[in-house]
Amino acid sequence: MDIRLPSLGEGADSGTVVNILVKEGDQVQKDQPILELETEKAVGTIPSSAAGTIQKIRVKVGDKISAGQVILTLDGGPAPEEPTAVPATAPREVTRPTTAPVAAKTIPGIPPPASPSVRKLAAQLGIDLTRVCGSAHGGRITLEDVRAYIEQLQAGGHAKVAKPIERVDFALWGPVTKKPLSSLRKTIARRMGESWSAVPRVTQFDEADITALNELRKKHAGAYEAKGAKLTLTPLAMKAVVATLKKYPIFNSSLDEVTDEIVLKEYYHVGIAVDTEHGLLVPVIRDADKKSVLELSRELEELAANARDRNLSADQMKGGTFTISNQGGIGGGAFTPIVNKPEVAILGMGRGALKAVVSDGKIESRLMLPLALSYDHRVIDGGSAARFMVDLVAAFENFSEADVRI
């Protein structure tokens, strides 16, 4: 069957073949462009009026052809319809920038998609732009992208490096179940990742003898219970921590990386890490220095319950100046908590355990609480941390009964 040049309309009934888009042996679909024709008015594509296999192409580039002239012969396929007019090109969607930027493929003779000034800078810094992901439309690499790439190299990270993350098919070695990350888990992952890569963290360990404090707690527990509150170690630890924070204000600060300033806070809002079935949540108890142990106990219980019910507002988890993570209720010894950025320090508490302690040359059985103080070494030096720890241990060990009594 022959495919003929359709009528082009508007008085243009002939044209010059500019480009042949198919070759002999090709399968063509109906309406598939087969050649480009230049007429008096324009260059346009000519579609095939039928589907089939191309047996013979009857024109060549440069030929002047007229409407009705045979362009090519098809093998088989259904009978041709009347030649259709030249269709307009279908509008094309503007593609949105892809969410995960990837480095552009290199095209021989064409520089990477970055301006000459950015390319010159990259050359001076010895940066291979083909490894940098462009964030602008079409993968264009901006100065910001180069900056981010350098920061990443300095941080030793690979988050935005062009090298794709290698996926592992775990099903190869046995059955697996997959479930999507919850948004809370994603937030935790992001926050922990940020803290891990941004904060040079040191953890200081010690133990506090809480034999006396525990006696104190037991002694007053009944009174608290009578008021509908449960006296645990956490509100007592908050008191001890706040007292120590007041002595060492740097532990109650934040680093403003934009202005290169240390922001010392004159309030004491203590975050408490709460283990829930959804994941870690950190509600904040405001003005812990101004509240009694009873008030702290009640508020803590309420916030923890809200956390487990996922009933916390975003505001209730903001504005902390220091965080306490008490794993004692679960068990375990010392661990290395991660600083809850933008705070600069966090206290991890393990489970208090009876230990044989040498005191005045005698071995005694004492209830020892493992403490782990992690801090941002950009802001806090080791000496300060050691001093903080010594005073904190003392605060636990010399807890005033007046603070507990109600």
Binding site: V43, V94, I107, R140
Partner: protein, 471 residues
């Protein structure tokens, strides 16, 4: 004799050489610029770009006047005073060359007139009018350029057989001119002589004129050439030439048959060869390729650690703007900066109409198997093109299908050489078709065709002639 010591010596004061010398001086280097010609500026200024464009402007004036009758404007046939035309051209060259000399002086670049010859990797001998001078340098930049090739069989020692150099002197307007070679030089100079009144025949061995440009860009040039030239003969070769009285007898080979014709003058424009002879390169470690061009890396370094080379003498695109960019790279590299040539090189042919392209061409993409999309905007749909009475133009964009990045731009039409600069910027900046489409281009100008071609890519150009499918 005591040698003159300098940081850098630049051999050749063309657009590569003087750019290198000036930039090096700006960077605080002591520079000597050696030039064997009596005038600075090289081929570009003296025997190439500039004089040919002056004559092409004159040709355009003549042609426009001739083609204005349908607009109701007629002129008497022009009277051409060759002497005055040549003087006008010379005045342009003097001005430009004088300007370069003045700038050299202001920058403290010493210009030494004479032929340079490498004694070894660190020393150059210059034959000046005052005798031999020796320059001892830290680094040398070779920028000696190229000259028209003249195959031995055409070299009759007869001034009627010309290269572009003689043709640009326009000693006379021959009645019948044969142009051998349908490249840009042949086509441009053929246009000049045709406008001045010669009957011009262009003969090209290949199946098309202006090889290297995409066929759709060449087509309007071919179309126009066929109206102003007596003939454009493709797939044909000149077998031999001989002096025949005041004419040149030319034997052609067309489809295995021999044909004999007589011409008053012949212009041989079959390519260019590097000016490497008699430069003393054998006394250095500089290596050359099989065509005689100096081998360099992307830092413009030759095989000799003390010597860089730039411009036509290293081959590639033989274009002034390529040489000037290479000059910057060479000087930066000599100054110890990490730098390599990574620019795209636009090409412009000043034919009627002009052709210009930059970046990837459609043919190149096809050949290398690079996935592209092409968006074209024919000038028949441009209001500005209509008012110029030149609707034979086309603007096309070569676009990366996934990134939508502009990878190449091709333009044929009035002023294409000026328009291509936007295309170069787009490619160099990594712009996408959307960037072009979203930038307001002033109306009515030909620059709109770039924006509209980008809009064609997205399927919503305002002025493209495109019919809706019949429902």
């Amino acid at each position: 004799m005591e040698p003159i010591n300098t940081d850098i010596v630049v051999v050749g004061a063309g657009p590569g050489g003087y750019a290198a010398a000036f930039y090096a001086a700006d960077k605080g280097k002591k520079v000597i610029l050696v030039e064997q010609d009596k005038r600075l500026g090289g081929v570009c200024l003296n025997r190439g770009c500039i004089p040919s464009k002056a004559f092409l402007h004159a040709a355009k004036l003549i042609n426009e006047a001739k083609e204005s009758a349908h607009r109701g404007i007629t002129f008497e046939p022009p009277r051409i005073e060759l002497e005055k035309l040549r003087k006008w051209k010379e005045s342009i060259l003097d001005k430009l060359s004088g300007g370069i000399g003045a700038i050299a002086q202001k920058r403290g670049v010493e210009v030494m007139y004479g032929r340079g010859y490498f004694e070894n990797s660190r020393s150059l001998r210059v034959e000046t009018k005052e005798g031999q001078k020796f320059i001892s340098y830290d680094k040398a930049i070779i920028a000696v350029g190229s000259k028209s090739a003249m195959p031995k069989s055409f070299d009759l020692g007869n001034p009627r057989v010309m290269t572009s150099r003689e043709a640009l002197e326009v000693e006379e307007i021959p009645q019948d001119l044969l142009v051998v070679g349908g490249g840009y030089i042949g086509m441009e100079l053929g246009t000049v002589y045709a406008a001045l009144g010669s009957r011009v025949v262009v003969v090209e061995a290949l199946p098309s004129i202006l090889m290297g440009a995409d066929p759709d860009l060449v087509r309007p040039v071919m179309k126009y050439a066929q109206t102003v030239f007596k003939e454009v003969r493709l797939n044909s070769k000149v077998a031999r030439m001989a002096t025949h009285g005041r004419q040149i007898k030319v034997e052609f080979e067309v489809n295995g048959q021999t044909k004999e014709e007589f011409y008053d003058r012949v212009l041989v424009s079959v390519g260019r060869v590097p000016n490497c002879g008699d430069l003393g390169l054998e006394n250095t470690k500089v290596e050359r390729d099989d065509k005689g061009f100096i081998k360099v890396n992307t830092k413009q370094q030759t095989s000799d650690p003390e010597i860089c080379a730039i411009g036509d003498v290293v081959g590639g695109a033989l274009l002034a703007h390529k040489a000037s960019r290479e000059a910057r790279v060479a000087v930066d590299v000599i100054a110890g900066e990490p730098r390599a040539f990574d620019s795209i090189i636009p090409a412009v042919v000043f034919t009627e109409p002009e052709v210009a392209w930059a970046g990837l061409t459609e043919a190149e993409a096809k050949e290398k198997g690079i996935a592209i999309e092409v968006a074209k905007f024919p000038w028949a749909a441009s209001g500005r093109a209509l008012t110029f009475d030149h609707t034979d133009g086309l603007t096309k964009l070569i676009i990366g299908p996934e990134t939508e990045r502009i990878l190449g731009v091709g333009i044929v039409g009035h002023g294409a050489g000026e328009l291509i600069a936007e295309g170069v910027l787009a490619i160099e900046m990594g712009a996408t078709a959307l960037d072009l489409a979203e930038s307001i281009h002033p109306h009515p100008t030909l620059s709109e065709t770039l924006m509209e071609a980008a809009e064609v890519f997205y399927g919503h150009s305002s002025h493209l002639f495109a019919r809706r499918r019949t429902e």
